[in-house]
């Protein structure tokens, strides 16, 4: 939305940042999904060059030379991590770098680099136009300013909403027309899953921090299936670089699919907790460390949703032996009781 309707603000914010840090070169990373914006963004940049707002000696300031290129890349969830984004900008696989050195010391092609999202650059413009005190007066003392939320899911009016920090979850639900809400996933898959008794909490760094996503689930949803969807998402988005995330996210999927197939037991839930602990402690970046967040939250807050999927609360093997024998039965043309295991019914 900011790149569609407020591209000038984004570019202005980048120019302010360049002026402050002494950068001569800026890059906009445009994900493949947003390829359709390329021409209009190019036009914005060109218009600003002609107006003397990009290029050499911007607005007559000798030495303030700054221009912007647009890089179109495939993008990936992990490219939200700044060093992965830089790797991708350099034409490599999007995998997080070892830090330190941080991008501000050694970033794109080894040059000092700052990486910010479009929302931050727009905020910088507002702060430059008004002043810091004006911005600080919005929100809470610890979380100043506003946050844009991408509201989706079970609500009458999904869309983009801008609120000051400190806004109640319940207020957002009322505004988007959500009724009979069971849970809200705030901050995307890596964020936090809140149940109804927490809707009085507020969006703020000191309470519920958010990267902007706000997904609403009403009472018709099976929160186990929601968590299973996120598990598949992380297994798909894992860059595959480090062992605990590459294998751990796939093992989580196997356990969740086993539960979904009705072959799970309480033991599987314990294994999921073990995997969560390991991934928190050992992954290379935040993707793996937070991959089990939706799982942990939903097990803690919606445990009956999990237990409904358990065949028994005790140990069950990972496969159904009688079902495994179906090929042998088919080959021998038998399906009589003697061709089944005793336990099967």
């Amino acid at each position: 939305m900011l790149l569609t309707r407020h591209a000038d603000s984004v570019v202005e914010g980048m120019s302010i940042a360049a002026f402050l840090v002494g950068a001569r070169r800026g890059l906009i990373y445009l994900r493949g999904e947003y390829r359709y914006l390329l021409e209009s963004l190019q036009a914005t940049l060109q218009r600003r060059r002609e107006a003397g707002l990009l290029g050499t000696s911007i607005l007559g300031h000798a030495g303030f030379d700054f221009d912007i290129q647009i890089h179109v890349g495939a993008g990936a969830y992990v490219c939200g991590e700044e060093s992965s984004l830089i790797e991708s900008l350099e034409g490599k696989r999007g995998t997080p770098r070892i830090r330190p050195p941080f991008p501000v010391e050694r970033g794109y092609l080894g040059f000092p680099t700052i990486v910010n999202n479009v929302e931050t650059f727009c905020a910088a413009v507002h702060i430059a136009l008004h002043d810091g005190a004006w911005w600080a007066a919005i929100g809470t003392p610890k979380s100043t300013g506003t946050k844009i939320h991408s509201v989706s899911g079970d609500c009458a009016r999904p869309g983009l909403y801008e609120y000051p920090f400190g806004t109640r979850i319940g207020r957002i639900l009322e505004d988007c027309g959500a009724t009979d809400t069971q849970a809200v996933q705030v901050g995307g898959p890596s964020g936090v899953c809140l149940s109804a008794f927490e809707f009085g909490r507020r969006i703020a760094f000191e309470d519920v921090p958010s990267a902007g996503a706000f997904m609403v689930f009403d009472r018709s949803r099976d929160m186990f299936e929601v968590a299973r969807g996120f598990a598949h998402f992380f297994a798909h988005e894992s860059c595959g670089f480090c062992t605990p995330c590459r294998v751990g996210t796939a093992l989580v999927v196997k356990r969740m699919d086993k539960l979904a197939a009705g072959r799970g037991s309480r033991h599987d839930i314990d294994v999921l907790f073990e995997l969560d602990k390991l991934m928190h402690a050992a992954t290379h970046c935040g993707l793996g460390a937070t991959a089990c967040n939706p799982l942990r939250d939903t097990i803690a807050k919606f445990r009956p949703a999990y237990e409904r999927h358990l065949k028994s609360l005790y140990f069950e093997p990972a496969f159904d032996l009688d079902a495994e024998l179906s090929i042998a039965r088919h080959m021998t043309g038998r399906d009589d009781p003697a061709a089944h295991l005793e336990a099967a019914s």
Binding site: A76, R93, S238, C239, C242, T243, A282, H284, A318
Partner: protein
């Protein structure tokens, strides 16, 4: 050997280090063992296997990427961290196809040796049994991708030492794969040679010379003679 004046604590014992050392480099220099797979003394840290994860002043970090500094309190050989290492090793075992008894690398394999060291007795997790065909197209070198642990040492050696860029990584998630950089995807169509650094860098049994099987009998191989923990001698 130059005078080492600075030191940090590793499992309660003082460990001297050179300026610019990582925790793992400093430990290896004096023969202290921190389990690792993707790290090699001749190459820059990679930080992907996570086996060398230690606690630095209470916070988890890979020993191969943390810079040594005076007064650090590093824990490595603890029940908790070794249990975590065992789990990571089990993940690597179930991810690939590792049949030690029939593997030419058995006894010389860092994965196998580290698993013994960490007391791993079984896979714990369900096996993935991936389908990874071998590549026998090269006249002198066999590639058995079943054993790959994605440490990227061959990628780095071929690119940074041999200047040939024979290997690459493709895919993502559990589908991440070691690839051969040729139009056909086969090793026979690359300039790789037996004398390349990449040909003898593999810590497991992916890259093997042809016609040299079992030259040293099992039982007399590197890690048969002494456990991996007793072979952590770096150069001073």
């Amino acid at each position: 050997m130059t005078e080492l004046e600075q030191s940090f604590s590793l499992d309660g014992e003082d460990l001297p280090f050179h300026a610019g050392d990582t925790v793992l480099q400093a430990a290896t220099r004096v023969g202290r063992y921190i389990p690792h797979l993707c790290w090699h003394p001749d190459f820059a840290a990679h930080g992907s296997c996570r086996i060398c994860t230690v606690k630095v002043n209470g916070r988890a970090a890979a020993a191969c990427t943390v810079m040594a500094s005076p007064g650090l309190d590093v824990e490595s050989d603890t029940e908790e961290l070794n249990a975590q290492r065992k789990t990571l090793l089990q993940m690597l075992f179930v991810e690939g196809n590792h049949f030690c008894p029939s593997c030419e690398k058995s006894g010389n394999c860092l994965l196998q040796a580290t698993a013994y060291q960490m007391g791993m007795e079984g896979p714990h997790f369900e096996e993935f049994y991936p389908d990874r065909p071998v590549d026998a197209s090269h006249p002198d070198i066999l590639l058995d991708f079943n054993r790959c642990i994605l440490c990227e040492l061959c990628v780095r050696a071929s690119r940074d030492v041999d200047g040939k860029n024979v290997f690459a990584i493709g895919g993502h998630g559990i589908g991440t794969r070691l690839l051969v950089n040729s139009a056909s995807g086969r090793l026979g169509d690359t300039p790789m040679a037996l004398a390349d650094r990449a040909a003898d860098i593999c810590p497991v049994g992916v890259i093997l010379p042809k016609r040299r099987g079992f030259a040293v009998p099992i039982g007399e191989r590197q890690f048969d003679l002494a456990p991996v923990s007793e072979q952590a001698k770096g150069t001073p």
